[in-house]
């Protein structure tokens, strides 16, 4: 067979230079579980690739300068207007660069999908308790990737120097400067002075296209390396124990599916970029310090911060001579506490759980009612905040006044999350009981297995592989 001959020759050629035969074998045999929820992280990875590709194209045409020029390009509605070089270059991308608008809209859509996929992926990890030993480190890396993605998204749409992004930057500055003690220093260090000022755009550009994506790439590499080393988790099921992994192999089934998914993610983003307008900065107009867009909204992934900004009451807290601005609590303290909770969760959980050793079989959400209830509460909390970020639109839609709507939302944001948590808890308990009942009726062995899933964790470790001790055994 010609294939075998080529495969063997290629394998020999690579191996004789890199001693890679064993790696190639294990790589091709690597087992990936077949469950749709494992695709979420992949979608995030692929949309990041698209962000890098489209972002590189855009960076070739974008000029991060707030120097003022008179616009005189193909978009005649703005002819003769004083705009910044940055804004002009964006209009140039939209109207003059071949396929420029397509690539820009794809870039923005890819960013939204990137964030969506990360959050969905993390929700899956959280609700199935996949962060348990040995995967705690990867949970921390994943959270850091989320933070970097949020920050870079903000930089991205704040660089264009249109009216909306200028408003966002101002709010960003206000948030930064509100931090007690170091706020003004941080704001000046990062933005180069009070906004707007000429230093800000080049700094955000450097961070957006170089530093943050570099960090994301490095951490992604580490993230994937750990998954590769530790293997995926498995949902509970036949043959799936703490010491096995069940699924399809990298070659050929998984390769086909995964590259197919990459192309589909790319294709869907291309379709969105083609047919669904996003961030049409030419209709917003250039940034002008003396005006604000009515109904200014951040991208959805920052909507919860915007909502918190709106709902938090105006408390004027002074410590003697010093002020803690009202914006500090919803925009700095609340997100910090949230991320502190998320970062520490795998370790906090260890204080309560009796798990020992590696946990390679996932828990289903209903099997851990307490955790799922907490997740539901958190989700509803963030969702109410997200809705509050558009309370002016909500007021328009339902025909109330913003003040009334806001009063209602202030109550809802406090009451809904605990209600959702309690409700979820009881639903989980009910589902668990019903499942237990059903398995007990069908087979006695199955019920014994289902009743004590933790016993697998207590299985003795297999005897140590002697090869591990010899040099080069791996």
């Amino acid at each position: 067979m010609i294939t075998e001959k080529i495969a063997r020759q290629a394998s020999e050629a690579i191996d004789s230079r890199l001693r890679a035969a064993k790696f190639i074998r294990t790589a091709l045999n690597h087992v990936f579980p077949d469950h749709w929820s494992f695709m979420l992280g992949e979608i995030a990875l692929y949309s990041f690739m698209i962000l890098v590709v489209t972002g590189t194209y855009l960076a070739l045409f974008f000029h991060a300068s707030s120097a003022k020029v008179i616009y005189n390009g193909s978009y005649h509605a703005l002819d003769g207007q004083k705009v910044s070089v940055a804004y002009r270059s964006v209009l140039n991308i939209c109207f003059d660069v071949p396929a420029g608008l397509l690539v820009r809209q794809m870039h923005h859509w890819a960013a939204l999908i990137f964030l969506w996929a990360i959050l969905a992926h993390m929700a899956r990890i959280f609700l199935t308790a996949a962060y348990r030993k040995p995967r705690e480190m990867n949970w921390l890396i994943g959270l850091t990737l989320l933070v970097l993605a949020l920050v870079n998204g903000f930089f991205g749409y704040s660089m264009l120097d249109d009216l909306l992004s200028g408003t966002g930057l101002r709010i960003g500055y206000a948030i930064l400067i509100s931090i007690p003690l170091v706020g003004p220093w941080l704001a000046f260090l990062f933005m180069g002075g009070t906004v707007p000022n000429p230093a800000t755009l080049p700094r955000m550009f450097a961070l957006h296209i170089f530093l943050v994506p570099g960090l994301i790439t490095a951490l992604l590499g580490l993230h994937l390396f750990m998954i590769w080393r530790q293997l995926h988790t498995n949902y509970p099921g036949p043959k799936r124990t703490n010491r096995t992994i069940v699924g399809s192999r990298l070659w050929p089934a998984y390769t086909g599916k995964s590259i197919g998914l990459l192309l589909l993610v790319f294709g869907v983003i291309a379709g969105l970029g083609a047919f669904f307008q996003i961030d049409p900065v030419w209709t917003y107009g250039p940034y002008d310090p003396a005006s604000t867009m009515a109904g200014a909204q951040p991208d959805w992934y920052l909507g919860w911060v915007e909502g918190a900004l709106r709902l938090f009451p105006g408390v004027n807290l002074r410590l003697g001579h010093w002020l803690i601005p009202e914006i500090f609590f919803p925009a700095v303290l609340m997100p910090s506490l949230l991320f502190l909770f998320l970062y520490s969760w795998p370790f906090t959980e260890k204080l309560f759980s009796k798990d020992t050793g590696d946990q390679n079989v996932l828990r289903l959400p209903y099997e851990q009612p307490f955790l799922t209830a907490g997740g539901a509460g958190l989700f509803i909390f963030l969702l109410v905040l997200l809705v509050s970020g558009g309370d002016d639109f909500l007021a328009l839609a339902v025909g109330g006044s913003v003040v009334e709507i806001r009063t209602i939302l202030r109550i809802v944001v406090l009451i809904a999350p605990p209600c959702a948590a309690v409700l979820t808890y009881f639903i989980c308990v009910r589902v668990m009981r019903r499942k237990a009942l059903r398995t007990r009726m069908t087979s006695p062995e199955a019920s014994a297995e289902a009743a004590a899933p933790d016993e697998m964790a207590l299985e003795p470790r297999p005897p140590v592989d002697v090869h591990e001790l010899t040099p080069g055994g791996e």
Binding site: N29, P98, A99, Q105, T167, A174, I177, S178, L181, P184, W185, A187, G192, G193, T194, P196, R203, Q230, T244, I245, V246, G247, S248, P252, A253, Y254, T255, G256, K257, G260, L261, L263, L264, G267, A270, G271, A274, P289, A290, S291, T292, M293, A296, L309, R310, G314, V315, L323, P325, E326, I327, P330, D358, D391, V402, V403, R461, V464, E468, L469
Partner: protein
């Protein structure tokens, strides 16, 4: 003399060695040739069987008949989607090179190509690849306690060879500290210290209020219930200097007593930068005498020194003292009552 003799002797030994080696080499060559001859005559042994690739225990999920039936359907489907993708690809090339730069056509054809190829591959993996379930044993992540000890020992053995370790540690700490200080110093070039501009109250006493076109304003410029954005003469268009000038009915004003003279003929002026998040407080609702920030809907009462009345803002907009000079031109009586803009730690 002795040296010379030694040399000669060693030269002789070397020569003898060389002779012996040559002979040995000849013998080896002969040996090799003869074995080679013998091997060539001998019947070729069957090739060594390959070790298992490690996937022999994978379980096929279907029967051969099922696979074959699926193969027929799959082939047709895969070809259909590939043709769609080709259509998209050709469409994209035509759309691009025609120079029309139509986002919908370009993006639509690109999406058609990518989705077509993606579906082709996924279908291939699902229909034209034999579906198997692989079960693998996980190797325990943890090495044996011995291996862990050996790793730690390797570090300790190496560290043991380092002399004057304490000195090295001190030098390391010192060098790192110095380097940190150097890097932090470089950060200084990123921004001036915040003190100067942050605390500025922008206006100087006696400055005229001018519009964004630079026109000065007088007592007769505004009707009651209207507003205009003004700047100090020397900072037209500056973000932090923007000021909102409103004319209200004089008898309705409820300014604190020390600000009683700051509103000639019902003109009051406040910073236009919201104290909450720094957006321009752009909307004036004359009936309720309220200034509204469009970002987070904070409201400020114009009649009561711009005190916050609703929304998330906690502090009033800084007020600008006003007076009218002899010709009725409006002038600033001094700076804002506080630095304009969002709050921070040291704001008074």
């Amino acid at each position: 003399m002795t040296d010379d003799g030694k040399q000669r002797k060693s030269g002789l030994t070397a020569f003898l060695d060389l002779c012996r080696e040559t002979l040995e080499l000849g013998g080896k060559t002969l040996d090799f040739l003869s074995t080679a001859m013998r091997q060539m005559q001998a019947p070729r042994r069957p090739p060594e069987p390959l070790a298992k690739s490690g996937r022999s225990e994978d379980r096929e999920l279907e029967t051969e008949a099922q696979i074959q039936r699926r193969e027929r359907i799959g082939t047709g489907l895969v070809i259909c989607f590939f043709l769609l993708a080709v259509l998209g690809g050709i469409g994209f090339l035509i759309a691009y090179w025609s120079g029309r730069n139509n986002t919908q056509v370009l993006g639509g054809s690109l999406a058609l190509f990518l989705c077509g190829m993606g579906i082709t591959l996924v279908l291939w993996a699902r229909l034209l690849v034999v579906q198997k379930e692989a079960v693998e044993q996980r190797h325990p992540l943890q090495s044996s306690p011995l291996a862990q000890k050996v790793a730690a020992k390797a570090f300790c053995d190496g560290a043991h060879d380092i002399r004057r370790r304490r000195l090295l540690a001190w030098m390391g700490v010192g060098g790192a500290g110095l380097f940190g200080a150097m890097v932090l110093s470089l950060l200084r070039s990123l921004g001036m210290s915040p003190d100067k501009s942050l605390y500025s109250r922008i206006w100087k006493g006696g400055q005229r209020l001018v519009t964004s076109d630079g026109k000065p304003l007088s007592l007769s410029s505004l009707e009651t219930g209207s507003m205009v954005t003004v700047f100090p003469e020397d900072q037209i268009g500056a973000e932090r200097a923007q000021t909102i000038l409103v004319r209200v009915k004089e008898h309705l004003l409820q300014l604190p007593s020390e600000r009683a003279g700051w509103a000639p003929s019902g003109y009051v002026a406040y910073s236009r930068v919201c104290t909450h998040a720094g957006c321009p407080v752009g909307e004036f609702e004359a009936e309720q005498s309220i200034l509204l920030c469009p970002c987070h809907q904070s409201t400020f009462d114009v009649l009561r020194a711009a005190a916050p009345t609703g929304g998330p803002a906690a502090r009033p907009l800084p007020q600008l003292p006003l007076y009218a000079d002899a010709d009725g031109t409006l002038r600033a009586g001094g700076g804002f009552t506080a630095p304009p803009g969002p709050g921070f730690w040291g704001i008074s």
